[in-house]
């Protein structure tokens, strides 16, 4: 396994946030969390992480905003998008995220092994 890296987890669902944090910590990562894009940006400024794992749909600043801001402010930070699929109509937001140039996308629910594999592959 590569050197433990700092991960910032942006996810509005408290339980999912907690479970992912526990899983990643169990895998040896240092995990900071945020409930929305603005919070994520604030945390990142305080304590830059190597990878942003973010949901797409969150209240008060969604994942696309986070991606935008991170790409501008922290170009070196890798981004993994996790989403439950389209909420607004039938648009494929994961595809949109891929186009936005993120490093990886995962559709919920996903096996943690897959997430870990993805992180290792970055």
């Amino acid at each position: 396994m590569s050197a433990a890296r700092g991960i910032l987890l942006a996810e509005d669902d408290a339980d999912l946030r907690l479970a992912l944090k526990l899983s990643l910590e169990a895998a040896g990562y240092t995990v900071a969390t945020a409930a929305n894009a603005q919070e994520a940006l604030a945390v990142q400024r305080r304590e830059p992480a190597d990878v942003l794992v973010t949901d797409i749909f969150m209240p008060e600043g969604d994942g696309f905003e986070a991606i935008d801001a991170f790409r501008r402010e922290f170009p070196a930070t890798r981004i993994v998008v996790v989403s439950g699929g389209g909420q607004r109509g039938k648009a494929d937001y994961l595809a949109a995220a891929r186009l936005a140039g993120v490093d990886a996308t995962l559709q919920k629910p996903f096996e943690i092994e897959v997430l870990l594999e993805t992180l290792r592959g970055l």
């Binding site: 479970a19 439950g84 699929g85």
Partner: protein, 717 residues
Amino acid sequence: MTLRSYLVGLTLATLLPVALFAGAVGYFLVQEQRETFRTGAEARTLAVLTAVDTELQASISTLNALATQRTLDAGDLVAFRDRAQRILATQPHWVNVNLARPDGQQVMNLRVPAGAPLPNIGELDGSFARLRRTGKPVVSDLAVGPVLKGWSFAVRVPVIRNGELRYVLSGGVRADSIAAVIKAQGLPGDWVGVIVDRNGRIVARNLAPLATEGQMASQSLRDALARSASGWFRGSTIEGTAVYTPYRRSEVSGWAFAMGIPATTVDGVVSRGFAFLGLGFVGAIAIAFALAHLVSRRIATPIGSLAGAAVAMAGGAAAELKETPRIRELRTLAAALHESSHAIAERQELVEREKRALQGSDRAKDEFLAMLSHELRNPLAALTAAAHVLKVSDPAGDASAKARGVIQRQTKHMARLIADLLDVGRVSAGKVGLARERMDLADAVSAVASEWRGSGRFDRHHLSLELTSVWVDADRARIEQIAANLLDNAVKFTPAGKGIRVSVRADGDSAVLRVHDEGIGLQAEEGERIFDLFMQGRHAEGGMGIGLALVKRLVELHGGTVAAESEGAGRGAAFAVRLPAVAASGAEVEPEKSLPGAARSVLLVEDNDDTRHMLEAALAAGGHSVRSARDGAGGLALAAQSPPEVALIDIGLPDMDGYELARLLRSARGCEGLSMVAITGYGRPEDRQRAVEAGFAAHLTKPVTPERLRRALAELP
């Protein structure tokens, strides 16, 4: 054929008989006028002739007076001559006086000296013979006398002595004396008045008197005179002018008067009449045409525009008329058209609205499916991650404990989601029965709020509770469902750091649950629609659109109402549920809450390992002794070893169903007083009913929470 030509045709059809009648009347009037003119002309002819007769009569009278002279008695011609000479002097038109024997031999002639030989004038014309035949005065024809050169005529009277004709006394009269009489009649300038003698020779004529005196009259006049003594004919004058001529022969003189009226004058009267008639006829038709045209336009124009409006209506436009038609029937038609145009517009709008509603509900369904995917994927992701943590972490460690908490909450959350999903359809179809009990609304709300607080779902909001006990007759599970959905809704739409107020209180006959948030509020137009199924109101930020729909249906099932209020977008929203309040039955509740429930020996039969383990843990935590089996046979074996007090049985077992197991257990030795609780995946009334029939004392629907399990056991006898 246009309407206009029909109307014009109608007008003509009406006009034609009138025109024919008018023509006939006009024709008779013209004929009448012509007749009147002719009668007038004939009367005038008679008048002229009478004047001429009077003139001649004057000469006859004078001669008669002379004829009575005594001097003739004895034949004293000298003395008579003298007397005659004097008379002649008094008559300006006379030119001569002579006396002849009845055979015509003159015996005296004032133009010839006395004693000179005198010619016989008896055969000059028929006048002597006529006088001899009738014995009355006669007038001779016009002649150039042998003595007196120039046209003249003679008036002859008989001289009777002793009853026999002795002499014939004649006065020679100049023709122009008659001309004077005609002239005095004042005939119109172009009329030709003419006196002709028996021979048809002109005695006097008002036109060119000198040139025509003594000439023969026109052939046509002479022919007419030969035919009858009076009449009317069309001929021509000696100058060749076409004339209508009334004429009459005098009985006194045998002469005739004819009055030539120019044909142009007479025909003018007629043709003027016909001209007037024709003009009137043509004028009437022209006016009729004009009026028909005008009237037809009044009719055809509005009909045309009505037709245009109808065509426009067919094209979907509103039927508008520039002006209201003046014809009443057309006004009625226009009004009817206007009304049906409105009706069509309304119907179209209705169709449009329904179409939009359909499209809206179609879109809502699409969004719902997307939302459902999101809502289910999130807890699944959390469960997956938590399971992973349990797998890799120390089971006794803090991480595992947290992961178990996640699993517990998320399964419950999912269970609620799925229950909601299934319920909303069943409630809508009226398939949900309520297991009503007398319960404290505040208690149920408090339980949900506590559970949520425990799971950290209120961590980001300020929650305040104001709960006053109010009792309702309701299904506890449903009331909790209502409260949970309202809280979920409030949490979902309220930004972090804002407040959510929950209150329960009595208001008159009602128990009111009110959830007030400081969230994004409602748009004015969202109003009632927020309770529609799949309606993701309050922006598209979350929710499956079933929570509020379910709340509304459940509340209504309880005989209550739910209302949403908001002062507008961004100003928060309040949802108030009103249920009929009932009297408190205080005695029942307190023990239930206070008593922990007696410890029992429990037999658990459940084939799902996770569920079995969870239930074992929960039962153990409640102080009960537990033995468990994973199938019916195992359960029976355990019961045979030592009869339990309570059996907790899953209905869906691999070797036999729960009902069968229940039957076998009850008949087992030592199990007569056994209390049984069924666990099923279904909460349908018929499932409960079947459970009761099979001898179960209680029925729990999966997932079974420790709290519900505790309550069920406490309620067992």
